[in-house]
């Protein structure tokens, strides 16, 4: 699978840091989205584009921070999927702001052993 450039047309969103692991069955994609609850993640697949959006809950009235480094904008990132990936079989889990997507290869694309008759 390949990554889209890390530029983001929507200036109000931030690009989450990503890690791609290669497994025998496909790929695992991890995205860092701290501050986003499990039910505020939107994952969509259109043609070969996988789009992930993470929305932060609306903040209640709070004082201006004395020191601020955290970017409180929503997250958005798109990935172009390898044709070998079975988009219908993608699964996702969210643990402490870390979104993990399992992207399995389609059965036809998996390596297989051929026994010599």
């Amino acid at each position: 699978m390949s990554h889209e450039p890390a530029t983001n047309p929507d200036a109000r969103t931030t690009t989450p840091a990503a890690t791609v692991h290669s497994t025998t069955d496909g790929w695992t994609l991890e995205l860092e989205m701290p501050g986003v609850p499990r039910d505020a993640v939107e994952i969509s697949c259109h043609d070969d584009m996988l789009t992930v959006i993470g929305r932060r809950p609306a903040t209640t009235e709070e004082p201006a921070p004395l020191h601020a480094e955290i970017d409180h904008s929503d997250y958005q990132r798109a990935f172009r999927l390898d044709p070998a990936i079975d988009a219908a079989a993608i699964t996702a889990s969210m643990e402490q702001g870390l979104l993990t997507l399992v992207l399995p290869k389609a059965e036809a694309a998996k390596p297989r052993k051929v026994a010599v008759a």
């Binding site: 990554h3 840091a17 004082p63 004395l66 480094e69």
Partner: protein, 141 residues
């Protein structure tokens, strides 16, 4: 993250030399390899909520027990370590981190609490009675 300690091999030498201020190679290597990708610092916010101070640190994918939070005098330090395994492509920093913040007012350290939810560590530090804001009314003369 670790401070680089400067070595002074020639304490008697007074002439200025830029090389005296260089860290030893061992120090440089230690710093470079400790985090794998160089030092990293998760972002931190500090808020004054009137009765208490709030420190927030954003760091996804940690476990509660992985944080080491200490309060010494007016300095709050949050340290920890995150393992990041080998990957085809990795943008997530890993290794040890440590963030310190000087608190702007005295706090009741015994009543400080911390929670970790959705990848955000929130530390609540109640102010001492003397440090809490109070309203002063103008009396009648």
């Amino acid at each position: 993250m670790k401070l680089i300690h400067y070595t002074h091999n020639h304490p008697g030498l007074t002439a200025w030399s830029p090389f005296n201020r260089l860290a030893t190679w061992a120090d440089l290597f230690e710093t470079a390899f400790e985090t794998g990708h160089g030092a990293w610092a998760p972002p931190l916010d500090l808020l004054d909520r009137g009765g208490h101070l709030e420190v927030r640190l954003e760091l996804a994918g940690m476990k509660r027990e992985d944080f080491d939070i200490t309060l010494e005098d007016d300095t709050l330090t949050i340290a920890g370590r995150r393992e990041v395994s080998n990957a085809v492509r990795n943008e997530r920093p890993g290794g040890s981190f440590s963030r310190s913040v000087t608190l702007p007012s005295p706090v009741e350290s015994a009543q400080a609490t911390a929670s970790y939810e959705n990848g955000v560590l929130t530390i609540r530090l109640p102010k001492t009675e003397a440090a809490k804001p109070r309203r002063i009314t103008v009396g009648n003369n």
